[in-house]
Symmetry: C2
Subunit: 461 residues, 2 copies
């Protein structure tokens, strides 16, 4: 342990000489980099560095590798499962100064960005090209962070997740080499899919420094609506019907009774406090009208209330603001509470069952946990409102979360649809994948034999 300590100190001293003010050991800076937006305990790194180029990242990793010092990549810290905690100390690589949009091709509908570029910044930049990047996990995360956690969010039902929308990556390996995982061709059958290996690897296999993304044309028409339902089954049957009809819905989001109550309180709205779908349609004017009509028909058959429409940009933004503020609205339900955000994903045929049993669990508990879901994909979230300093509450969240995860696995689902494993879901990986985890472990060992890349996340060696 003392040797490890000495090695880290040496690493920091060497890097300080190289980076000067772009290395910080200030306690406040280190603490901010040792925590995410969820409940996980702070584990501050020993130093935070702010590189500006892939070559600088490679140099930093080489110094860390030489001394066996842990490396923790960091975007803006909006992850939710303890991904950025420096469990064994080490050097946090903050990529926020690598925020350059390297190249846009309107003809090829793709873009290359440095890993620190944020989602909203990218779409601002693209505005005049008529293109946009649809993946929207809620937070204004970095593209690098979104890639590393295989993020998705509200638009995934139509546009896919980061898995489908990353075309190529530049990565610094655990020994400080720089590799490109693919070229810009839309498809390739040339060798193992290194791109997908790094998407969702949570910094445990290398540092992602540049990302080439697929873009989409801004739709000619967009229309959004919300609609409440007499019960959860009716809402989910509407979702299943919509997907089965092949309607290319852009967003189809579910909020439960409690979450609607929270949104009403937080944003001074008066929506019915009932299971509610937030919908958005993209396409030509005619196509959007047709999609909307069909979904309205399906919803009506399931006993839905009236649709409230928003077609003007500002009205759509207001409607989606309520959805995007869901987590903050939930937090406001209980003054001083922290949130434990969890997510699972199940086959859509099992979604109603999974949600209803989960709501039953929560109704029998003394804690509150509003529910929101990207239900077109069978993915939903709970936000547990709790006091992490209260052992009884902590134990209760752990119990409810574990029941949720095991229920999802029993329904052929996954322990996390989009938040990732980090440390929070580490214990469920073997339950989900069984023997396949041994292959993941072999990959980790092959890519990072000294276990310096974000150690303690995803895979325990």
């Amino acid at each position: 342990m003392d040797a490890a300590r000495a090695n880290i100190d040496t690493t920091v001293a060497v890097l300080k000489q190289q980076l000067g003010e772009r290395l910080s050991t200030v306690a406040a800076v280190r603490e901010r980099h040792g925590q995410d937006e969820s409940y996980h305990a702070v584990h501050a790194p020993d130093a935070v560095v702010f590189p500006r180029t892939t070559e600088e990242v490679a140099e930093i990793v080489r110094v860390c590798a030489e001394h066996g010092t842990p490396v923790i990549p960091f975007g803006v810290g909006t992850s939710l499962e303890g991904h950025v905690a420096a469990l064994h100390g080490g050097v946090c690589i903050d990529l926020s100064e690598m925020n350059e949009i390297v190249r846009v091709s309107a003809e090829d509908m793709d873009v290359t960005v440095q890993a620190g570029v944020r989602r909203k910044q990218l779409n601002e930049h693209l505005r005049d090209t008529g293109l946009f990047f649809p993946i929207d996990p809620g937070a204004d995360a970095t593209i690098g962070g979104m890639t590393a956690t295989r993020a998705s969010g509200t638009n995934a039902v139509r546009y896919g997740t980061m898995r489908e929308n990353v075309l190529a990556l530049t990565v610094v390996t655990s020994d400080g080499r720089i590799i490109n995982t693919a070229r810009r061709a839309r498809k390739s059958a040339a060798g193992y899919d290194l791109t997908r290996m790094f998407v969702g690897s949570e910094g445990t296999l290398g540092v992602i420094t540049e990302v080439t993304l697929r873009l989409y044309g801004i739709p000619e028409a967009m229309s959004a609506a919300i609609c409440s339902f007499p019960g959860m089954n009716a809402a989910i049957d509407t979702v299943i019907g919509t997907i089965q009809m092949g309607i290319p819905v852009a967003r189809i989001e579910l909020l439960d009774e409690l979450q609607m109550k929270a949104c009403n309180l937080y944003s001074d709205l008066d929506y019915p406090e009932a299971p509610t779908l937030f919908l958005e349609f993209h396409g030509s004017e005619a196509s959007v009208a047709e999609q909307a009509e069909t979904v309205q028909m399906i919803a009506t058959e399931n006993g839905a209330g009236d649709f409230q429409w928003a077609t003007r940009t500002e009205d759509r933004n207001r409607l989606w603001q309520a959805r995007h503020d869901a987590a903050y609205a939930a937090l406001a339900l209980r003054t001083g509470a922290k949130m434990w955000a969890t997510d699972v994903c199940v086959p859509i045929s099992r979604l109603a069952e999974c949600i209803l049993e989960t709501q039953q669990d929560i109704s029998e508990s003394f804690l509150m946990a509003p529910l929101v879901g990207h239900v077109g994909d069978g993915n939903f979230h709970l936000v547990f409102l709790f006091d992490p300093d209260d052992e009884r509450e902590m134990a209760e969240v752990e119990r409810l979360n574990e029941r949720l995860v095991l229920r999802s696995l029993a329904l052929d689902g996954t322990c996390t649809g989009e938040h990732g494993v980090g440390t929070g879901k580490l214990n469920y990986l073997i339950a989900e994948h069984g023997e396949a985890v041994s292959l993941m472990r072999e990959i980790k060992k092959a890519m990072d034999p000294a276990n310096i890349m974000n150690p303690g996340k995803i895979i325990q060696l």
Copy 2:
């Protein structure tokens, strides 16, 4: 070498005891399993086995692993880059008797099949469900083979490739363990993406025995058309315009002048012998009409001739039959010739340049090579017609193919969009990926330390 020989003999003897008639050492059977549909030399395996369950495959691989005997998975042999050649002898696992459709879920729009199920068989089976599996590489390949080569084809521009449409796999590892790469949830952020690691791995990391696929609703309306253009640039500008407008075209296929001539001769048609697009639109009646109208407008702006439409199923089938017969039509251009089918993929902005330079090359050669392309993705094929026993012709194809590959790489493209590496593109992998090949090699070593899984393909150890 003699020790390797003795080990293979022992393996075959042990397996013969276990499998009886489901192991063949008949020369004709072995030869048929040692070649694909392209020009590559036959390398017959020492034995061919016909397992019926994943457990039997695992047992076979365990016996092979014990004796260091190569294992070559085999579907129906429609691959094109030497994937099934038993370069070092060994046991070919023919999966054609594993042709059971295990499970269909209409609600979840997914299906699980054994690896030996063929594409057309699957769609026959699905017909009454209102669902279909769109990936169409032309050949009636097995789903296992399509997964192993990361196949795509005519529908990929809308529905993606096998990369996007495989949800989960059952795989037998190189030491004979059985793993499942994922559950049935539409998305997951739980650990490394083992599914995508095996998609496109060409049998070099393990044997795929079951595949869970994403399905789609059969569109309410489908309409197909063909349209000829005054030149290659006009055709490709139409493709780029179509994609940029966000038109969800289901198929957009390019055939060059020579290929159109071949199709006319082969199928007794009288299409103009000019660059021609074959198009298909899927959606609601209204959406299909709108898509068709918009594309017609774009094509007209680019100087296209009249569209010839096909909406009735039999008319559409006739139109696509001409496209699907393209390779046979090409072969018929030169009596007794063999085909060397190659494919590359480039960013669509570079497609015209790549195709025109390639056509120029061919026009200066003494060989013929008609061109067809899945051009919505920037992917196109050449079929060289040649006599493999003529050294001068062989050298000329090698020269033209290498120029094509290097041109594609120079344009930020890939050496193969969908055929895979096999042995045919082995030499180009480092040219394409550089340092990243070392990571592929580490993956191969980690997954298959004894190098028994389809040795000599993708990666040279």
